[in-house]
Amino acid sequence: MTFPDILQLIIDFFTNQTLIVKIVLSILIALYGLFAVVLAVQIRVLATVISQNNITPLLKLIAFLHVLFVFGLLVATVFLI
């Protein structure tokens, strides 16, 4: 590949808005997914310290569904855009 080809590739990359959005959004969702996993783990740990029978299981379920949803969003971003 010559220098003009590389330059053209970079220009095509930065002018392809869809690709930029896909990459940036994927990174952001992946980082947020990490946060969601940490949150779910921390809720499990806190539930061992103190637990209210009518809401703590619900919080655990919401945290788990939250993690699943975020990873589903990541898959959709990577494969559908």
């Binding site: 959004l25 809720i43 806190l46 061992t48 939250h66 975020v70 959709a76 855009i81």
Partner: protein, 230 residues
């Protein structure tokens, strides 16, 4: 002379003979029935609802390492009104795109994202708002204090990654007081309760607790009971 001695003494410094005061009947402490403050003795157990920040004799609460014969007297969280900031922030962020969206189209007309991309960005944005609200609620829910007839357990959650758990026995409690200052604390009736102990962790603080007077009374009764049994 005899008549004078028999005469009843009168004068401003002479007290009337006082009836003998009978000492109050002392409760004999038994190992099977630990002391419970009188204000909570006859209150039935009640299930705290999910947004409860003050519940006497709660039912359905489990905590770490309960001791035999230990009765849960009170569970305290921060007053629910203290959640107002994050609730309003979440609502504001939720309605922000209605105003920012058209503005972005005007300011950045050269940005053209596919409809699917816009949809995924919107979903991610509202997922982040949900995550923020959920974390805030979880921190409020688990940041609590439990008062039993034997111990006080203080669970502090400054952020989702950090927890600070302090436990003290009722026998170590020396003093309890509360502070309620400022317009919001006075208006919404919450305050800070300070429990002085003999232990290394000298002070237990329950910040922004509802009904601070009632909580102070309950802990004060525990101290009194401890003194009577000593």
């Amino acid at each position: 002379m005899e008549k004078q001695s028999q005469k009843k003494l009168q004068g401003e410094f002479i007290l009337e003979p006082q009836p003998e005061k009978k000492p109050p009947p002392q409760e004999t402490p038994s190992s099977s029935s630990p002391s419970i403050p009188p204000s909570l003795k006859h209150e039935p157990k009640q299930k705290p609802h999910p947004f409860s920040s003050f519940c006497r004799n709660p039912d359905g609460i489990e905590y770490q390492n309960p001791e035999p014969g230990e009765n849960l007297l009170l569970i305290i969280r921060r007053a629910f009104i203290t959640n107002f900031p994050w609730i309003t922030t979440a609502i504001f962020l939720s309605i922000l795109p209605l105003f920012i969206g058209p503005l972005l189209l005007i300011v950045f007309p050269f940005i053209q994202i596919s409809p699917l991309g816009q949809l995924l960005i919107s979903i991610f944005y509202y997922t982040v708002i949900f995550g923020y609200a959920f974390v805030s609620f979880v921190i409020w829910h688990f940041h609590s204090a439990i008062i039993t007839n034997k111990r006080i357990i203080d669970v502090d959650i400054p952020n989702i990654l950090h927890r600070d758990i302090a436990i003290t026995r009722v026998e170590s409690i020396v003093d309890v007081k509360y502070e309620q200052g400022g317009i919001f604390k006075s208006l919404f009736r919450y305050g800070d309760i300070l429990v002085q102990t003999e232990a290394i962790e000298a002070n237990f603080e329950f910040d922004k607790a509802p009904n601070p007077a009632a909580i102070t009374e309950i802990i004060g009764n525990l101290i009194v009971k401890k003194g009577q049994q000593a």
